[in-house]
Amino acid sequence: MLLIDPKKKLSFSRCIRDGDLVIVCEKHDTMKATKVCEISVLQNRFGVFKPSDWIGKPFGSKTLVLSHRTQILYIADISFVITYLEIVPGCLVLESGTGSGSLTTSPARAVAPTGHVYTFDFHEQRAASAREDFERTGVSSLVTVGVRDIQGEGFPDEYSGLADSVFLDPPQSWLVIPSAGKMLKQDGILCSFSPCIEQVQRYCETLRSNFTDIKTFEVLLRMYEVCERQMDCGQSDEDVSLGSPPYKRRQCSNERSKVQENTSSPVIMARPCGESRGHTGYLTFARLKCQ
């Protein structure tokens, strides 16, 4: 929840109230946002829960098995963009390609309370559902969604020379560069997100006339898993072959005390996760040249 309203600040005494939006962590990879209200019911694979039961309980209470891994795939990109675009409270940010709105929430939080994000999408329906999402997550006072074909028409003239940062996510972002150049303040920063390297090449060529400090990055996050294992010292006992998996040996050793001396005490170990995201997109940043 965005803490714009000081009355809603997180604290020990802050309990879940009717009307609050809470995030329920269900299991490994699912998180759901649910609005708590007296009569609603949350149905999931674990059964039926009445969110009204949570009213009065402090935030952070554990009701289900918890550990999550959602949306982490893009958090590396989003967090990097916010820092590299130098977005701080009070900034004016223009965005093209609202899409699902998941990327817009972060700059919105970063410009709070005095800044603003103007985001544009050419798809009327997407813009409408994005507006609803922003209402729900509490950032609607900081975001204005416009329906506009940025690639064809550019950004609205009323923001000329006022933008601190511009973020582009349309398929042919190089077409928007001249307009972005008009919108940005001197030394303002432009960022474009492109999945394909050809787009990046085309984009960078167009950038060179008016922009400087051009940098292209890939950002990824590598996860680690942590477990407690008993590592065998390598001496096999006569009944278990060397090829059997470690856990099997541990089972045997639990039954027979004479095998104890062959195993060491449990140790905490970490290793990278086998599954990983290989690519999200290329992030290209540039600063508007000083005139």
């Binding site: 701080v88 005095t114 990278p272």
Partner: protein, 446 residues
Amino acid sequence: MSQNNLQSDSLQNPRVTWEGCSVLLDINDGDRLVFARLTSGSTLKIGNKKFSLRPLIGCPFGSLFQTKNGKEGPCLSRFIPSTEGNNAEEKGDCEIINESRDNRAIIDNNKAQSLTGEDIDAMRRQGAKGDEIVEALIANSATFEKKTLFSQEKYRLKKQKKYAPRVLLRRPFTRSICEAYFKKYPARIGFLRVDALSLLLSMTNVTAKSDILVVDMVGGLLTGAVAERLGGTGYVCNTYLGGTPQSMDIVRMFNFNNDICKRIVRAPLNDLRLAQSGTSKQIGTHEDAPDMESNGLTSSINMEEVSKSSEHKVTDLDPDANVSPTSKMSKAPKAGESASQEALKLWGENGFSSLIIAAPDLDPWSLVKDLLPLVSYSAPFAIYHQYLQPLANCMHNLQLGKMAIGLQISEPWLREYQVLPSRTHPCMQMSAFGGYILSGTRICSS
């Protein structure tokens, strides 16, 4: 946006330098990075000459300066790069397809250049500009025409850097400060790379009106970054064990105004715990003056402050002590005051919104078990460390103690690309390591 909003924004986010402000000077496109304070007396050494920084005062960030032989001697003058250079590059891009030259006939025997050092000095004395010298060198090189277009570009750039060095005036911001330190003095910031720092800020929801508890043993970079995102609201409380707080020098480079500086406070861990346990014992102020005394000498803070560390080679930093301590300039606002009693009480009652730890030399678990109780339930936390094992142990202990959920250890990976026509590929140099982060959410273990 109303006019008022725009004005207040520019006050918080100024885009033009002023006397006494802190700047980052980028010499020759990243070859040399120098933090400096712009006063009428401060200077910058390039080659074997000293240049006054006075012409930089009042210019917009992002301005480029070139060395020039002015009437009063060598000086820095502002220039706007022409678009001609770009046209040449565009023309070059077309020619690349028809490039038939290569270097088979070029012999590297140091005899290609017919201009001597004396010739160049003579040109300088006659007032020739740096660019003119570069052109003369190119004209007098026997092998220049035989080089491929790429080689010609490289040659021109090399000569330009030597004879017509450029200084870029950069705004100190989380990004530029972190990158500069990571490049030149990474140990000072615990090898905290800019993408790792960004993750710490995002994972812990650092936004306006939050109260963030921080353990910053990376020179103040983390504190500064958090304060920047808070924008003058909320608080960033830098806590420390024992009696003396750690240095927060880097905070001074951010050009924070009074509003933001007031939000950066310090409190010893004991005081925070006492406040929470509701003890009405008098919490005394500790001897945390050492870092703050330097605020009185802000006028003499020049490149020196960055070069103080004895563990680093200071090859690109001038021991420039030319700034007179008596020069009149606005005193930089103070950051890092002791937290007030009211603030301590408030945090004791409500807890902090989130916790960030960047203490590469300390064990994460021993810190977290004392600090997590100070943070509100359902609040996020993130711990940065250079080593995996201590974080793994910490994560395990948190799980056993049911103190947190959503625990996760991640390692940020960052790769830069060179994007040029027919020459696009990842950069040859790459930072292989930016640290590990353990993140999670505190829960109420009831």
